[in-house]
């Protein structure tokens, strides 16, 4: 008598365990019950979230902090549609996720059954790839493919829509060999391309390395450092490339772009060669495409061929994995004669430092800078999106590409808290701080309950200015100070709110208290929230108005009313 075969759901969990999945973030519903049932008693931890967006962001934060694939599990219909923002966030930032959505039985698809939605159709533009599973015997192969696709090449989210009759059906043993004839992963570059890059780099007098998220994903920190030091080339990093070369390194000029450092942006203007390592020339850093580095030779290393010449036309495009390509390139490099250039960047750093007003009300920048000092640059920092995110990017100097977790491409408010929870689970024992705005925090604060249940010591720093501050800044600078829809009147008392969730709350409202209160919160053994009541009308500088050239960067408040920006947001 044969043993009864396992269900599709059990097979799915088996493969997750084989793939090394530690945590599944999710929220059940009718269509997902067989999937949740298969988790009972298995060696995989289920984190019950309060909203499906939170589940996907947690999986995302876990993935960013560890480099492993994050997994979320939700139900059909609204459960699945609630994942869309999380999928989009992960796709834009190339984060490996496997998201499984329960689905109504296959025979009801398209018949408007209860909680039946065209999840594949809704999510096509937000995933690297997706599956609608029709046959239980396909589950092992699809699961193998999903984990491989999510984590290889340019990573991204993979969605598996799993009808209830399929997850509940008995599986007949079948091979799980992947069938992906249309998918290949570039690794090494061609020798001729590498030789050409070496020649161009050797000829440059003022070379600049632009380090993006691709370099972090590829784990190319050692190679980037060797490249910068051998060439004696200054480095600028994108928002998501922070820390690949430690931002305390003398050659690192920090973040470039709209709210980047003045010295990074001045280097962009004056360089005669720029080499992007896994950055996609996003509009936040390039700003005005036809005036970006017009006189510089441009080299672009990217694992995604579709990024080469997408928005910035380059002199040399190299398709390959950043770490592999840099390893090919390093032996061919000669030490450049860049002493004058490096000296120039150091003068800029001295003459145009990041600064903020210290008098008057409490400044967000002071709180963030103090947090950086207290954590010695060792904390994993997650953020929401807006002013606090830019100030954190400026004043938190990252030491590792996996210590800075922020929604870059999508700009998703509400990302900070759930991603911090995921990051802390992935890296227990480390300090994790979510720096959030009062606006974004309220989009996913229901995950405070998840945090409380987990008893993990995530710290939440709310930069509370009672405004949707970045929009207010734009209305202040470019829309004649006409505020519309930015006043967050009716904010709760965040300290009491934290208390209601069983989380210790702290408040800072005076600059004299910053260090003491932050220290107390960081020393608190469990989760804690710090409500920092900051100056309401502060603006983030430097600023390159969207669509303006780097030379038109504002170092501080302008004396005149500015034209409305021509670029996007």
């Amino acid at each position: 008598m044969a043993v009864q075969e396992k269900t599709g759901a059990e097979a799915l969990v088996d493969i997750m365990i084989e793939e090394g999945v530690e945590y599944i973030f999710g929220l059940p519903g009718g269509s997902a019950i067989p999937l949740f049932d298969a988790l009972v008693g298995r060696n995989i931890k289920l984190v019950l979230t309060r909203h499906e967006q939170g589940a996907v962001h947690m999986a995302d934060g876990y993935a960013r902090a560890t480099g492993k694939t994050g997994v979320a599990l939700v139900t059909s219909g609204p459960g699945a549609t609630n994942t869309v923002t999380g999928l989009f966030t992960a796709l834009m930032d190339s984060i490996p996720l496997v998201v499984v959505t329960g689905q109504m039985p296959a025979w009801t698809l398209g018949l408007d059954a209860f909680q039946e939605a065209d999840v594949s159709g809704i999510t096509y533009p937000c995933v690297k790839h997706s599956y609608l599973v029709k046959d239980v015997d396909d589950i092992p192969r699809i699961m193998r493919e999903a984990f491989f696709l999510a984590s290889s090449g340019r990573p991204g989210p993979v969605l598996i829509d799993m009808p209830k009759n399929v997850s509940g059906a008995r599986i007949s043993p079948k091979a799980d060999t992947m069938q992906l004839p249309g998918y290949s992963v570039p690794k090494a570059a061609q020798d001729a391309e590498v030789a050409r890059a070496a020649t161009l780099l050797a000829a440059a007098k003022r070379p600049l390395l632009l380090v993006g998220h691709g370099a972090a994903i590829s784990g190319a920190a050692t190679e980037v450092r060797a490249l910068a030091e051998t060439l004696q080339a200054p480095v600028v990093n994108t928002l998501l490339g922070k820390g690949v070369l430690p931002e305390t390194h003398e050659l690192n000029l920090g973040m470039l772009g709209m709210h980047g450092t003045a010295y990074a942006n001045k280097a962009i203007i004056d360089c005669d060669l720029i080499m992007s390592i896994g950055s996609r020339w996003d509009d936040r850093i390039v700003s005005k495409y036809d005036e970006f580095c017009v006189n510089a030779v441009k080299i672009h290393i990217d694992i995604d061929a579709a990024e080469i010449n997408k928005v910035v036309k380059v002199d040399l495009g190299i398709v390959g994995d950043a770490k592999t390509v840099l390893r090919q390139l390093l032996p061919r490099l000669v030490k450049g004669d860049t002493a004058d250039w490096v000296r120039q960047t150091k003068r800029w750093r001295r003459d145009f430092p990041l600064k903020f007003q210290k008098e008057g009300k409490l400044r967000a920048q002071q709180v963030i800078q103090e947090l950086y000092r207290l954590t010695g640059g060792k904390a994993i920092v997650t953020t929401d999106v807006g002013q606090h995110q830019m100030w954190a990017a400026q004043f938190i100097l990252s030491e590792s590409g996996r210590d800075w977790i922020s929604s870059g491409g999508a700009g998703t408010m509400g990302f900070g808290l759930p991603s911090a929870i995921g990051a802390q689970l992935g890296r227990p024992g480390e300090t994790v701080v979510a720096i959030v705005g009062d606006g974004g925090f309220q989009m996913t604060l229901s995950e405070l309950a998840t945090l409380f249940n987990l008893k993990i010591p995530v710290k939440i720093l709310v930069i509370n200015n009672h405004y949707l501050g970045m929009v207010r800044q734009w209305q202040n600078l470019f829309y004649d100070n006409r505020y519309s829809g930015v006043d967050l009147e009716g904010n709760p008392d965040f300290v009491k709110l934290a208390g209601a969730y069983g989380i210790k709350g702290f408040r800072i409202s005076r600059s004299a208290d910053v260090r003491r209160v932050l220290k107390a919160a960081l020393d608190h053994p469990g989760p804690a929230l710090i409500d920092a009541e900051v100056e309401q009308h502060d603006n983030v500088f430097p600023m390159i108005p969207a669509g303006a050239a780097h030379k038109d960067m504002l170092l501080g408040p302008p004396r005149r009313v500015l034209e409305k920006p021509t670029g996007g947001t």
């Binding site: 594949s120 096509y124 690297k128 609608l132 004839p181 249309g182 579709a306 010449n309």
Partner: protein, 172 residues
């Protein structure tokens, strides 16, 4: 064969051939790459191939060359696309089939047949007042016949869209 220039800003008609996995959802993933860039698809042919696991798609779309190159790269990125290639600038076998139903009273039949003769088109249906025509050939030839038939008043026209195949030993 050079791409047909149809606009002032470098917009040209491009013929793209894709070899794709024969799975549900492939068509929509491909269509989304075009629609996201605001590109209209002029014609689209999906058919079986010699291997039941795969389908071939022929797409004709109008746009500037740089954007089309980007679109081809994005198509190649799709997991279910084995390969996508722009054949607009290459000499390949290209065919299309069209059916026209025209007004044709008995006194103009001879004239109509003369036009059709010149285009090697066939009569496939005839009624007291109408004539149905089948023609095969390059898309340009079909365009030319369409122009000629306009003088009869075209009641209906349907075209299959262009299909193409590489010449000689080369694989499409």
């Amino acid at each position: 064969m050079p791409a047909e220039i149809t606009g002032g800003n470098g917009a040209a008609r491009h013929s793209i051939s894709l070899y794709v996995a024969n799975k549900p959802g492939v068509l929509i993933r491909i269509a989304l790459v075009f629609s996201r860039r605001g590109y209209n698809i002029d014609s689209l042919v999906v058919s079986e191939t010699e291997d039941p696991g795969f389908s071939r798609m022929n797409i004709v779309a109008t746009g500037d060359r740089a954007t089309l190159e980007q679109i081809i790269k994005q198509l190649n990125k799709l997991v279910d696309v084995i390969h996508a290639r722009d054949y607009s600038y290459e000499d390949v076998i290209q065919k299309e089939l069209a059916l026209f139903k025209i007004d044709c009273a008995p006194e103009r039949r001879a004239e109509a047949l003369q036009v059709m003769e010149a285009f090697k088109a066939k009569t496939i249906d005839l009624s007291e007042r109408t004539l149905a025509v089948e023609v095969t050939g390059s898309s340009e030839k079909l365009d030319a016949l369409e122009t000629m038939l306009r003088s009869f008043h075209i009641r209906e026209m349907v075209r299959t869209g262009k299909v193409l195949m590489a010449r000689g030993e080369a694989a499409t």
